[in-house]
């Protein structure tokens, strides 16, 4: 599997990272180095092997579904780059 410039552009878009057009060839090359390394996994016989979902055999704990916390709007907004009138502010999303 080899990654071309179009794929690199698409992956950058999916990851929401702006990559300028002139940086795409180098990025594609780096992807190919990493993917070439990963490619070794295809040698392994994984027939009938379950993909790991949890490294420890424990069952996740359950808890009662109840409100335990809240009413901290100010704290939640404190670190926002742009917070106004009790909300996170972002560029216009609806025309």
């Amino acid at each position: 599997m080899s990654i071309d410039i179009d794929t690199a552009r698409r992956v950058a878009k999916l990851a929401r990272i702006r990559v300028e057009e002139d940086a795409l060839p180098a990025l594609a090359e780096e992807f190919n180095a990493v993917l070439g390394f990963i490619e070794q996994l295809s040698e392994v016989d994984v027939d009938g092997v379950e993909p790991m979902t949890s490294v420890t055999p424990q069952r996740l704990k359950r808890r009662v579904d109840e409100i335990t916390d809240g009413n901290m709007q100010e704290k939640i907004l404190k670190n926002a780059p742009d917070a106004r009138e009790g909300f996170f502010a972002v560029p216009k999303v609806v025309e």
Partner: protein, 493 residues
């Protein structure tokens, strides 16, 4: 007393309880050492006011006879741990200015046990790196030096390792996703343990790869590792993967008696091209354990070779998901927008400016392996290989093996910048002996065991059975005693 910063945790604890000195005195000595350590770039956010306040409170507790394990002991905290009101950046520009409104479970536990925080420690950005060269703060520098080159302290917990080795603090917290506690510990001649997955709560620790991340202590001795690990462990309702198991008194388990323990030497770890001095150190370590009464046997972990490739699918995949939260909306950096820029421009520009090169690469690799059409070929296959890697370990433990001895790293510390021209895989190979442990969720400890021909520290790794950190530390303690590693870096900074 001017050398209080050079004490181990156990020495300082005992001295404080006896009244030989106060926490304020130990803390002041560490703060002076930190003030004079700019060249190491280990501490990146200093918190002297918090430290002095905590030290005074600790002295009062000690005077009143209420002195838990860590009471009055000054430590450094990796920048990955959320500390309330104190800069927490995970070594990244994208979290510039972020001051959490909450405290991580581990730092809460340490502070409840009386520990004193001196400041936050340098690290690779989002813990992605093996040399501390991906940090927004610049490189942390190894206090060990053998020529005019500045050496890496390893990574990602490079600042923690440098700070402990240089006696800027008595111990530090680290985190380990693929070797990030054990490799820097080995590069700087200190002890670092990654406990079993689930031992330490991950709540409030900035997430990199959630199924692999574990926090642990980085200390001057195995005894200190036992003391500090106990203070860090325990069930936490806020982390659903944290284990609801009793935490033993690890220090009490350091009996020094390892007679009859079965130590495995995995033949697959004897890699082609392994430097002679690493192979020799490994053999010597096996001899030391044998001399202490352990039985040393060759074992096989057949899927070892596939651990790094599996890791470089699973870790980036989880990272791409975890790091999606850095969008310029809720915290940290937001790019300056041009007129007419929409919300996608904001995301893309913010993440391009805020993430460094290695983080961007891993997020995009993760995005790729999770994308439609490749999910089965890469991500699911890697998770199956991970099952096989874990089974390799289960098989040898079922044969009665108590612990496994391996080198900690394929080399001694290398020069900062020396790897910058090589492809990323060369850097990834640093974790070849440690990454299997994260994939299998096991405890692993790095113990300083000798010096390289050039005079740099080398470490050996012991891997234990799940939840058997106490037994593992006891074997590590025997190895430490037999190796008798006492060298310290000569002060040049």
């Amino acid at each position: 007393m001017s050398d209080l910063n050079k004490l181990t945790l156990s020495e300082a604890r005992d001295g404080l309880r006896k009244g030989d000195f106060t926490s304020v005195e130990v803390t002041e000595t560490c703060l002076s050492a930190i003030a004079a350590s700019g060249a190491l770039n280990a501490f990146v956010h200093n918190t002297p006011d918090i430290a002095m306040e905590q030290a005074k409170a600790a002295d009062a507790r000690i005077a009143s006879g209420d002195a838990p394990a860590m009471c009055g002991l000054p430590i450094g905290i990796k920048d990955l741990f959320a500390t309330k009101g104190v800069d927490t950046q995970a070594g990244s520009r994208i979290l510039e200015g972020f001051k959490p409104e909450y405290e991580s479970t581990i730092t809460t536990k340490l502070f409840d046990a009386g520990a004193v925080m001196l400041g936050k420690l340098n690290m690779d950005e989002f813990a992605m790196g093996s040399s501390n060269e991906t940090s927004v703060y610049g490189n942390a520098v190894n206090p060990w030096k053998v020529d005019d080159r500045a050496l890496t302290p390893g990574g990602s917990s490079g600042g923690s390792a440098a700070a402990v080795a240089a006696d800027l603090c008595l111990a530090a917290t680290g985190t380990d996703t693929g070797g990030s506690i054990r490799q820097p510990a080995a590069f700087t001649g200190i002890v670092g343990i990654k406990p079993t997955y689930g031992r330490c709560s991950r709540w409030g620790v900035v997430a990199f790869a959630s199924s692999l991340d574990q926090a642990g202590p980085m200390t001057k001795t195995t005894r200190d590792a036992a003391i500090m690990l106990e203070a860090m462990c325990g069930h936490d309702a806020k982390d659903s993967t944290s284990a609801d198991l009793a935490v033993p008194n690890f220090e009490a388990m350091l009996t020094g008696d390892i007679k009859g323990k079965k130590i495995g030497i995995p033949k697959e770890y004897r890699m082609d091209g392994m430097p002679e001095e690493i192979a020799k150190l490994w053999d010597e370590g096996a001899d030391m354990l044998r001399a202490a009464g352990a039985e040393v046997v060759e074992i096989s972990l057949p899927h070892t070779k596939y651990a790094l490739p599996a890791y470089y699918v699973i870790a980036p995949a989880e990272a791409s998901s975890n790091l999606a939260r850095y969008d310029g909306v809720r915290y940290g950096h937001r790019a300056k927008l041009a007129a007419g820029d929409g919300i996608d421009d904001m995301y893309e520009k913010t993440r391009a400016e805020g993430f460094g090169h290695e983080v961007q690469r891993r997020v995009m690799v993760g995005t790729y392996v999770l994308s439609a059409g490749f999910y089965d070929a890469y991500y699911n296959r890697a998770r199956k290989v991970r099952t096989l890697i874990k089974k390799d370990f289960e098989d040898v433990f079922a044969q009665g093996i108590d612990a496994i001895l391996t080198p900690a790293t394929p080399s001694a510390a290398f020069g900062l910048g020396e790897m910058s021209d090589s492809d990323p895989i060369q850097m990834y190979l640093n974790d070849v002996f440690t990454v299997t442990v994260n994939l299998a969720g096991l405890p692993g400890v790095s113990v300083p065991a000798g010096l390289s021909a050039k005079g740099l520290p080398l470490g050996l790794q012991l891997i234990g059975r799940p939840w058997e950190e106490g037994d593992l530390l006891n074997i590590a303690h025997s190895l430490e005693t037999a190796a008798g590693f006492v060298s310290k870096p000569e002060k040049w900074w």
